[in-house]
């Protein structure tokens, strides 16, 4: 069965090319053109850990309503090199289309040296097995047999025509327009006016007048060339829709950065690491920002972003900043977080609010530096020696990335402990259209912070930074505040903060710290701990449990499942520490069938649920090939599991190139 009912304003487009050749901007121009036409997009980016030369590709899904996941099928594959065609031709659905460069038809698959041996073997085997030649011609013949429409685009010719038109004799100065040519050719096939491409080009290249000029000329040439050739109408279409509301085209790491600024983060430390550094760089490029009217006495707001010598310095510098009453954070990924654990323990011991944004990528070790995985949940929960309270919050979409980046500072300051915000690479590096982010629902809660030194405690009882209290939380003064002198130490300490190894004090101090986790569990509302998406009828056929970036694919997969008569409910866990044990227990104890869906090998959330609730989730759908989970994979695998739960206890998803 085809999963797509109508292919007008409902399609998936793919473009690929060598890293560094401008594929990013192609996808950007394509996406922006679609958004300008009133459509919604969801774009995912796949790339090697490499700067120039290796293959990267983008998939952009376009729809007339908001979309939140990737799908497996490709409607139109746009290529200008041989490698993209070789790698992805198979992903194009029957009846879809391929745009290709006719001068490459004789390219031998075995001679593309950036292709891995096993891929060469697989593809040549497939072609030869069907009686095709092991080159691009063979691939195109295979595509034709699969009813795929082929669109040759003579890029070289268009580039020389463009050069001629603008009076440029050096072709190499014009050749980069190939990216926009590919987009324009795509729009010609899909039927969206070239004017949208031109507007997108203008928006993206901004002040670079000459670049805009050559791209626009080339775009029109290629657009008209395709339009002038008669071919049967293409099976998928784009058409502008009326959309008066402004929308935001945002990547996960940008949403986090906005959240941090709104949430009051004024110092960010980081050591370069994929996929976390984008956020820090974005923050640095917005280090000065405007404040709302009424706060202009500060002139402007600002954030100090410090690139440190390593992640050990990143976390400890953020902690030092936090001691002054500054909202401070650091952003990293698994390998960097590994280096942060000792510092985090110190913050736990000294009850310092510090925020760690943990972008999850494929591990262990260097792992898959540019690919997606949710392999660090248990690590985030247990990192560092000894026991101390920590907050762990995970985001599932762009809006959550934004709001959670605000909330996590409130949690950190209210409960005076390290707070980890988990974001998957699949969110960090995906771009999508959303309604504009708004600070309207955002509130700043700094907990028991003392910033005002007008009521000094000197002379009477000395200020006790670690005063024993009912809720475990002590009034927190900041460095430099008169009358509130305090001491910190990584050693066990007294209420004042001096080293204290007394066994009785140890019990009281340990209990005080750990009590904060209970306080947090009690105070944080359920609405911030998890999302529950009910089934359409009163009793669901299946309960899906998941977290993080799988959210979008699951929600959209559920819609498809419903059409098949499978009514699913979905429990999206957000707060992992303190864990909402009672609510999860209550929800899951009523389930007919529970499926745990995670993008890791072992089902780390399922382990956490078992640990906390004693509910063992038998059925798991897991993906750990480094590629994000798709809506179609959710649909297929949940369907198989519901039909035969016993035969499908552990399904491993494999889609993605």
């Amino acid at each position: 069965m085809s999963l797509i009912s109508s292919r007008t304003n409902n399609l998936s487009w793919m473009i690929g090319g060598a890293q560094g050749s401008g594929v990013d901007s192609s996808a950007n121009v394509f996406s922006r053109a679609c958004v300008l036409a009133g459509l919604w997009v969801y774009g995912t980016r796949e790339y090697y850990s490499n700067i120039k030369g290796l293959h990267s590709y983008f998939e952009v899904r376009v729809s007339d309503k908001q979309i939140r996941s990737k799908i497996d099928e490709v409607d139109l594959l746009t290529t200008f090199d041989a490698e993209t065609l070789i790698r992805h031709a198979e992903a194009v659905r029957p009846g879809g289309g391929i745009i290709y460069n006719p001068s490459l038809v004789r390219s031998d698959i075995r001679k593309v040296d950036t292709l891995e041996d096993n891929i060469v073997e697989k593809i040549t085997g497939r072609l030869v097995g069907q009686g095709f030649t092991p080159n691009v011609t063979g691939l195109l013949d295979e595509a034709k047999r699969r009813d795929i429409q082929l669109f040759p685009v003579a890029y070289d010719q268009v580039i020389s025509q463009t050069a001629q038109k603008i009076g440029e004799t050096q072709l190499s100065k014009v050749s980069r327009i190939i990216n926009v040519l590919a987009v324009s050719a795509s729009m010609a096939v899909l039927g969206l006016d070239v004017n949208y491409v031109e507007r997108a080009v203008e928006a993206i290249f901004g002040a670079k007048k000459k670049v805009i000029e050559m791209n626009v000329i080339g775009a029109e040439l290629v657009y008209n060339a395709i339009k002038s050739i008669a071919h049967p109408p293409f099976s998928a279409k784009l058409a502008p829709v009326e959309n008066t509301k402004p929308r935001m085209f945002v990547a996960g790491n940008q949403a986090v950065a906005f959240g941090k600024l709104v949430g009051g983060c004024r110092m960010q430390t980081y050591y370069p690491i994929t996929p976390a550094s984008d956020e820090s760089e974005f923050l640095e490029s917005h280090e000065n920002f405007k404040l709302l009217d009424g706060y202009s006495h500060d002139g402007q707001g600002s954030i100090v972003v410090v690139q440190t010598e390593d992640e050990i310095a990143a976390i400890t510098m953020a902690i030092g900043a936090s001691l002054t009453g500054t909202r401070a954070s650091t952003s990293t990924s698994g390998p960097g977080f590994s280096l942060m654990v000792e510092g985090m323990g110190w913050a736990g011991m000294n009850e310092v609010p510090v925020v760690i944004t943990l972008y999850s990528r494929g591990g262990p070790s260097t792992g898959l530096p540019t690919r997606n995985e949710q392999g660090d949940l248990q690590f985030a929960l247990h990192a560092s020696h000894g026991e101390f309270p920590r907050i762990v919050l995970s985001s599932g979409d762009m809006e959550e990335c934004f709001y959670d980046a605000i909330k996590i500072f409130n949690y950190a300051e209210k409960y005076q402990c390290p707070a980890i915000h988990m974001v998957d690479k699949a969110l960090a590096n995906s771009n999508m259209t959303i309604l504009p982010l708004s600070a309207e629902r955002a509130l700043i809660d700094r907990g028991k912070l003392i910033l005002d030194g007008s009521n000094p405690q000197d002379g009477g009882t000395p200020y006790k930074r670690f005063k024993f209290t009912e809720d475990g939380i002590s009034p927190r003064a900041v460095l430099g505040l008169k009358g509130y002198r305090f001491w910190n130490t990584g050693d066990e300490h007294s209420e004042i903060g001096h080293i204290d190894e007394d066994p009785e004090n140890r019990i009281k101090m340990m209990t005080k710290r750990m009590t904060k986790l209970e306080t947090a569990a009690r105070e944080i509302p359920d609405s911030e701990k998890f999302n529950f998406f009910p089934a359409s009828k009163s009793s669901a056929d299946v309960t899906i449990v998941s977290w993080g970036s799988s959210k979008g694919a699951i929600l959209e997969g559920m819609e498809l499942l419903r059409r098949d008569g499978i009514d699913a409910e979905f429990l999206q866990l957000r707060l992992m520490s303190p864990f909402p044990t009672d609510s999860v227990k209550k929800t899951l104890s009523k389930s007919k069938l529970i499926i745990d869906i995670e993008q890791n090998y072992s089902g780390q959330l399922a382990s956490l649920i078992a640990e906390k609730t004693q509910i063992e989730i038998v059925n798991k759908i897991l993906k750990f090939n480094g590629r994000p989970i798709s809506r179609d994979e959710i649909y297929d695998s949940v369907r198989s599991t519901v039909k035969a739960p016993q035969e499908n206890e552990r399904l491993v998803l494999v889609h993605g190139a």
Binding site: M248, L261, M267, E287, K290, A328, A442, L479, W487
Partner: protein, 324 residues
């Protein structure tokens, strides 16, 4: 009101070994605190891990006893978030030249306006006497099973190579010299290193108080000839590098620092080796990019109004991502 020594001491029991050089450093730091023109409420002392680390508990200022080797990033984070603080980092030789050597170096590249005092006794005291990074090759302090297999690092040269703009050395039991050096380090605008030679009476039986004092060598009147000599007093050496100096002069001075830093053994130079006033501080560099930094630094900014609403104009900020 001038502070007295009692004002800057806590009444906690001090548990360093009797005769430890740490006492000399503690006394000099505290005396310096009573003499500098700084509001004591703004002073924050950071320490690392090792015997030295407890100094913050004996001293009555904000005191942050951090992790082994990490005091510098902790301290720099606090200073950048609140440049109005007077930040003094006090570490050990294992702490700063060993496990924290990376931070030592990069702190130099930043040149944040703060002071870094290093207790340098050539051994890891708190773990019972292993060789620290400043112990010489082939030396065998008393708890080493075998002579030290590593060469010593040269803190003065390391600091110079890293970009410290104030590099000095003093001796724990020369309180007057140490106190004055610390005061000059605090007054210096930029990152100031004070490497403090100190005996460890328990584990270092080579570089003892008697050894530093030169009890083993006597002049004609049978007076000991101390090993440390004050480079500025004795030789008239001027460590200052001013903005007006020519490149050649700077070069010459820098080479002299290297030359002096290599002296060890019978003659150990102490004093200020290098004071470079040409280099901008990290705070200045931030202020070049963030014009409001010095008045509205991170710790001073208003994050929310009385209604707890954030003060940031998100609509304006996110304009570049809006498409309509």
């Amino acid at each position: 009101m001038a502070l007295k020594l009692a004002d800057v001491k806590t009444d906690l029991h001090n548990d360093w070994c009797p005769g430890c050089g740490d006492f000399g450093i503690e006394a000099s730091v505290q005396m310096a605190l009573t003499e500098i023109p700084v509001d004591i409420n703004r002073v924050v002392i950071f320490s690392g891990i090792g015997c030295h680390g407890k100094i913050v508990h004996w001293t009555n200022t904000f005191g942050i006893h951090t992790l082994h080797g990490r005091l510098m990033p902790f301290a720099q984070g606090a200073k950048l978030a609140n440049p109005d603080l007077e930040v003094i980092a006090i570490g050990g030789d294992g702490d700063g030249y060993g496990i924290g050597a990376g931070h030592f170096m990069h702190a130099g590249r930043r040149n944040i306006d703060m002071t870094y005092i290093v207790h340098d006794n050539q051994v890891y005291g708190l773990t019972k006497g292993q060789a620290s990074p400043t112990q010489g090759l082939g030396e065998k302090t008393k708890s080493l099973p075998e002579p030290n297999i590593n060469s010593a690092v040269n803190p003065i040269m390391l600091a110079l190579a890293s970009g410290y703009t104030f590099i000095s050395r003093s001796y724990a039991f020369d309180s007057r010299h140490l106190k004055e050096t610390i005061k000059r380090a605090i007054a210096h605008r930029g990152l100031a290193l004070v490497d403090v030679l100190q005996p460890c009476p328990t584990y270092n039986d080579i570089n003892t108080k008697d050894w530093y004092g030169g009890e083993d060598r006597r002049d004609e009147k049978n007076r000991p000839i101390p090993r440390c000599y004050d480079i500025e007093k004795t030789t008239g050496f001027d460590p200052t590098i001013t903005p007006e100096m020519s490149i050649e002069e700077v070069e010459k001075k820098t080479l002299k620092v290297i030359e002096l830093s290599k002296e060890w053994g019978d003659k150990i130079p102490i004093g200020v080796f290098y004071q470079n006033e040409r280099v901008s501080t990290y705070e200045d560099r931030i202020a070049d990019r963030i014009s409001t930094y010095k008045q509205a630094y991170p710790a001073k900014q208003t994050l929310a109004g009385k209604d707890a609403r954030p003060t940031v104009d998100l609509e304006y900020l996110s304009k570049e991502l809006l498409i309509s």
